[in-house]
Symmetry: D2
Subunit: 349 residues, 4 copies
């Protein structure tokens, strides 16, 4: 596939561009001088909007990337001798090139999970060595909502994990790079499955759902992350012209743009699922609960298809692939993609 | 001063907004899907433009902030047991909250300098302990161009520092957060006082000169920074929607927008200098060679003035203050500011 | 159990003291002045003796602890964006409180293994993401010889792992905290199952086998770990009075003291195994190939027994315990311990 | 000079061996088994003895080296965004290969001082940027007692620094690698110029005064360094056979061995000073208050002399050299050294 064509594919929800409403707000704040580094009125407004979603006690700080939001959020509530427990498939384990370890000094412990979701019983293997100085001290359980497998935790599942964490004097961290997709999937406001469900630290993302750049590190309870402002600066994540991140969040939260985008994206995923399920020889391997579809198809079909559409292999041994829909995926994209896959499958046999 | 007014002040060149031409290019690239993380054609084009400025051998990578560009550029060419030598007033020493030490593990050694500029004879005090395992091994000399004091290194001064560094098996790093202002001040293309003058690693900034966010780490000679792509990701500086940083550099380098902005900014500084020099009781403490003016004025005058204009104290003991002009500073801003200062000074006596 | 009694137990081979021959050599080097930090003739001699064992190309550096030997050995051959793959039960994963992550910045990836030993097929799940900047780059496979489970790799098993590592452009690291026990178990000189079997980096320990303190980081091939002397100093592991570590290695390697001690220790383990196997209701869970015995016994028996002998639980869920013999374990200790266990078991029913 | 000769020189107080009383105690604890990692009765006793010296509230932990004691002591009371302020000549700045920066992430800020001693007025240049997130937050003032220049702080000088630190919400750290020499010089018990003078964190050394290895990190006030036991393990400084470090401290503190050794060493320094002052053409540059003598002599004389005695250049530009006496320096060593220097000086003219 040629990059130049800029055809909408299913590689990642960050291959899409910026939603017009976000762009408009960026332009709106672009006049005159304003104080740098987040002391401006736009940032104050964006923080206020996030607090409205997450609770008045939440402390919100903007950073540039999802990796940064995760790493700095974790750094804020750990010391170097701690460990963070997560799923083997978690972004902080698989896709951040060791940034959590490098910056926090902590050990990242993993458990295998078939659907990307953690459950207390899976975590027990790491619940030992507390107080024993030879052993990294477990301090945080980190989950992704929605998960890297496109699945979504229910409120009860999150509550259960939060209780489990707190019972062990640990905190619950949520990687919310695709938080809006989860909210739409659950049909709940953000707060219901974050703050109110016991989550302590949240990465609240938007780049995968129509924003340009910028994520929010949210400490959902008072007293967490003393000194976080220094951590952000030392972590090279303090934006000088912060108003332009703030503008994006203002656009994203105003008029529920996040919901509009994520609803569309999730709906496209369901439509794509429906069409793929009708194609013989292709297997969908995960519940489609947000905007990701995981499927097994013959390797040579995948190769052929990938010359027309950009998408990623997930598990090469199983010939499993990932498709992501986005806020701008069109019904036609879905139809055409499914058609091509269908044709290739029939030619394959 | 109320933030809300958004009056143009002299606090920092990053209090200004984004140049319309930059904004336009951002909008231009915002259509359709493109590969994330810098494998897109826009990034390729921006890199090509930077290579044209800096030499075909230069390796260019985009990051988010000036601090990140400095830290990752230094990390690319050091091991943790090295030291980096710089001016006491350097950004990497004073204004990055220890990010260089935290991320690289290196020691940052400083020398005092009256004008923000290093000279070989100032550096000699740190030229010892080579090969001695008890001592951090000096590996990099880091200079800012233009400096934090608004001064500008001549080509010869840079050449001399590069030769000194290379003679000691060290590298020369340049923090170019205000590189364009230096280029305009020297009347030279970038290459003449970077690559061709012996600089090895460069932070090529634009945010302080009309861009929104994004800086470029440039290794100017082949073979430096093996593995830098991993370092950038681990450093939490890999943008998913990289095309929007690329777009800014395309706008910045096309039609010499950088020159237009920096010329204006430097000219405004000279005009401001001229007017301030006419005010009795106020002393300008540094040569005005780029877009910064340093002045000593009575503390109570500064207090009064700062209720109308936002600017920073530089040295509180000396009652020294810093004024920065920007690409959007208007002549009227200058005139009004100088008038207010003049009035306050006369009332002061 | 009262600490004060100093009864020989089975808690760890580091609960024993220092072998008299080691103590004697320490006293022998204690006269007059000698250069500090390892430039002394005793250190030169100790290094020579180690090179005789491991090959003339090996580079040997002394540090204080086994954790330090592992961490600095790994740091010498990695960059922060790398990963190290090891067994879930490995010391670097379970017992170093995150020291590898903190100091190297690397990710430590694990695989479960029933006997503490890695095999290529177990490692495959981590053999992906090479060249992909989002993913920590696998650089080292780390094995323990003998393992934390008391098992011992055969030469062929090591060769196979080395070949697998090298085929993937990775290195093979060996944690040899109990290297002598493995050598005795295999009936081979050190070199046969380290350097000659393809191991690249070795922690050569002695503290668990009659020494007082001090371990050796050994790079077994030329060109590894450039700058290691700085790494050791920065890692806080450079001994000023190095001659006293050197003396211990001289004693340890002269007259094959290591073999005498490890042979005894291993033999005691076999004797203990034999006696325990005769006790009904107690299960030995691992092959006894060095000086560790793993057994399952009823929890209340273990509690009772631990009031008389100090030893560690291994897996509390399984009621599995670890017993370690040492260079100074006496036959009587074995007999009495087995007797007590036997009595308690019979009373348990 | 040949290393092999083991002639007593003046290179460093760590070129000497171990005092017989220390060796004897090491042998005394070497029987039977005892719990590892510091839970043994010998360690308890050594800690008790140190608490007797420093106050019952002090928390004492043993590590291996002076560098480790400094770095971990500082790590215990800082977060990565802090800075530590010290003298340019301090061990943590000059002689630890960046270990403080690497492990703590903190910035080390320095001030020049003619005699190795800090004073509040020297520190003021770094007393800024509090609360400003761009700037490393000053958290600790670190002094050496006695200093690297052989000078000794008076109790009042320490009090003044402690007050200054505490007034700025900072702590006072003391590198006591040569603490005994200072105590003897002041004629005071340790407590008088540490705990009682306001010091918060102390590295209490003994290796330079007759011990073999091992230093003590002492937090002198309750509540400092929560989690330090994890920090020590993660810092690779937890000794398995801790009883052998403990034994040394027991010997060192019992019967005031520290005083005997340091008194002798200091006295030898004074004798050496007296004799050197009588030699024309040689200048002593620092007050001789502990066991170091700094002198300027012609470079060729120094070269000749260094073929007979091992000692270090201090400032090559000034042709300044350092001589250190030790607990085992003999009067004859002094006489012979001074004679040789005298002869060489006369031949020099």
């Amino acid at each position: 596939m040629s990059d130049q064509k800029l055809k909408r594919g299913f590689a990642s929800d960050n291959n899409s561009g910026v939603h017009p409403a976000v762009m408009e707000e960026i332009m709106r704040v672009n006049h005159g001088h304003t104080v740098g580094y987040g002391s401006d009125p736009f940032t104050a407004r964006a923080v206020k909007l996030l607090r409205k979603e997450l609770g008045e006690d939440s402390e919100v700080s903007f950073v540039f990337t999802g990796t940064a939001a995760n790493v700095l959020g974790l750094a804020g509530v750990t010391r170097s001798w701690n460990s963070v427990i997560t799923a083997s498939s978690a972004h902080i384990e698989e896709d951040e090139c060791g940034a959590p370890e490098k910056f926090t000094g902590c050990k990242v412990l993993t458990v295998d999970t078939p659907d990307g979701k953690l459950r207390p019983d899976l975590l027990r293997r790491h619940m030992h060595g507390f107080g024993f100085e030879h052993h990294s001290q477990p301090a945080v359980i980190s989950i992704s909502q929605s998960t890297e497998m496109g699945t979504v935790y229910s409120v009860n599942e999150i509550r259960e994990l939060a209780a489990f964490a707190h019972d062990n004097s640990m905190l619950l961290h949520m990687d919310g790079a695709r938080l809006a997709n989860a909210a739409v999937s659950l049909g709940l406001p953000f707060r219901a499955f974050t703050t109110d469900a016991g989550v302590d630290v949240l990465s609240f993302g938007g780049t995968k759902n129509g924003m340009m750049y910028g994520e929010a590190v949210c400490f959902l309870k008072p007293g967490l992350a003393e000194g976080f402002k220094y951590l952000r600066k030392q972590g090279m994540q303090l934006a000088s012209k912060m108003r332009f991140i703030a503008a994006q969040y203002i656009a994203y939260l105003n008029n529920e743009l996040w919901k509009e985008c994520a609803s569309h994206s999730n709906m496209m995923a369901l439509e794509l699922e429906k069409r793929i399920r009708m194609i013989k020889g292709v297997t969908i391997t995960q519940k489609v609960e947000s905007n990701g579809i995981f499927l097994i198809m013959p390797e040579d079909v995948a190769d052929r298809l990938s010359r027309e559409y950009f998408f990623y292999p997930w598990n090469e041994e199983l010939s499993e692939y990932r498709l992501m829909t986005s806020w701008d995926t069109a019904s036609d994209d879905i139809i055409q993609f499914a058609d091509r896959l269908s044709v290739m499958m029939s030619e394959h046999r």
